[in-house]
Amino acid sequence: MGAPAVEIRDLWMSFPGKAGGGPVHVLERVSMSVERGEFVCIVGPSGCGKSTLLNLVAGFLEQSRGQVLVDGKPVHGPDPHRIFVFQENGIFPWLTVRDNICFGIAPGNPRRGEILAHYVDMVGLTGFEGAYPRELSGGMRQRVEIARALAADPAIIYMDEPFGALDFLTRLKMRTDLIRIWQAERKTILFVTHDIEEAVQLADRVLVMSRRPATIQEIVPVTLPRPRDLDSPDYLAARDRIFACMGLSVKVGATEPASPA
């Protein structure tokens, strides 16, 4: 099968600390790989460095130590073959839905119109091509960003809590749609979230990160067929295993299991 789509080898990351303090160690000894076409979620407690990890993999940050390889080649900076979908919504407010989605398509591409129509339809925004982002809801804006990423035809999509700012129902719907799109397009997706349920609903494998300095604590494969039954014992078992990894109880109000704080 050749090199994995993404491979991380012994990655370390620290930031210079505030005046007086030493450097802040965010990541230590992170190693992992993502196969082509795989959907991998990274979960971890807030502030554990999972966004930092994704930014390193995408090439927006430079690691302190270790290597990030995409298709066997070291990453130096961002690249149109690997598109990042931002938590805070990175679509351009001065462009219409149409121009946002076309942003990553080469201006001379004769299939431009065709590609646009395909992805507008895929994310369910037909009829809104001429609208500006400010006229859309949060969920629709996030769909525009996903369509913009897909239209650039990347091999890999990195998603940093892309549904974090959406309400519960919209989030559920976006997950269903994302899985449908992923199944149609077969991109490699590396998806960061702090929402354990979200990770288990989406991923082929869930990587659980520890507290800072973070490392990959456990890899939980989720082999359930899609569409996933959120009541099935296997789903609940996978979810509870991740809860346990993070030192959390599933029952609200129960005493937390003793954890080395």
């Binding site: 961002p78 690249d79 805070e88 351009f92 942003f103 925004l125 009829g127 609208a131 400010r134 969920g139």
Partner: protein, 274 residues
């Protein structure tokens, strides 16, 4: 996915507060007219009561405007003032916008030039009048220079701040799509800064209009500023002084409304509605 469509329709129809909907035209046109009329009456009565024979009533001012128009001076002076503002302000936009964008983008340029800009900026353009006369004598170049000075700083500083305030996510998205430096500027930095640049331009135009009047009082012999000082010096014609003031106010309002129209374009509207 009709859910998305429903969602959008629900959210594009903005709720209108019930109170704002009551007689909007009557309130927005009627009230200012009422206040203006009230103030004019008050003015008239105040002049009559004080028995002043120098300070004009509103009617005297209106006659003064008519007199200036008949003599052909009104249009001539307005054109003279607007011409100076157009040239000085136009030069300030042409220099200030690119300069501000460069200083905002290149940190070293910012370090090098910003302190000097911050020292020159608070010097009133009025303080430059003697210098302008020394350099350019008494012709159009002196007020044009002063207007340029007055407007170039607000324009430069707002363009500079606009670049520094760009949401980092836009830059990162642009880099992710592999934009060249030129494209990054053309397709992201320029449109991202346009709303704030336009606001700087609007503020600068207001300042330019203030300064042209002051400059014309000293450095030239035409324009609305000259009209005011000349009417005062040649026979204490306060009806013409106030007529000039009224024209300045009305034209200033018109200029501001004109630039505000630019803020309604879709390319920049996103920057104001937050």
């Amino acid at each position: 996915m009709s859910g998305a469509a429903d969602e959008a329709i629900a959210e594009t129809v903005a709720p209108v507060p019930a109170r704002a909907n009551r007689n909007p035209i009557a309130a927005r046109v009627g009230l200012p007219l009422l206040v203006s009329a009230g103030l004019l009456v008050l003015w008239h009565v105040a002049v009559r009561v004080s028995g002043s024979d120098l300070f004009p009533t509103p009617a005297d001012v209106l006659l003064g405007v008519v007199e200036l128009a008949r003599k052909g001076l009104l249009l001539k002076y307005i054109v003279a003032s607007l011409f100076r503002v157009t040239v000085g302000f136009g030069l300030a936009v042409l220099l200030g916008v690119p300069l501000g964008l460069l200083l905002g983008w290149f940190q070293r340029l910012f370090y090098a030039f910003n302190p000097m800009i911050q020292i020159l900026r608070p010097i009133s353009p009025i303080a430059w009048i003697p210098v302008a006369i020394l350099w350019f004598g008494v012709d159009d170049r002196a007020p044009v220079f002063l207007i340029f000075l007055a407007s170039v700083f607000p324009i430069t500083v707002s363009a500079m701040a606009a670049v520094q305030n760009i949401q980092p996510v836009y830059i990162r998205a642009a880099r992710n799509f592999g934009l060249s430096r030129l494209d990054l500027f053309r397709r992201v930095i320029f449109p991202a800064t346009l709303p704030q640049v336009l606001t700087g331009i609007r503020i600068a135009l207001g300042v330019a209009w203030l300064v042209v009047v002051a400059a014309e009082m000293i450095a030239v012999n035409s324009g609305l500023g000259y009209l005011i000082i000349d009417a005062r010096n040649a026979g204490k014609r306060y009806d013409l002084v106030v007529a000039g003031m009224v024209m300045i106010g009305l034209i200033g309002l018109a200029l501001d409304l004109l630039v505000r129209q630019l803020e309604r374009f879709d390319e920049v509207r996103w920057g104001y509605s937050r």
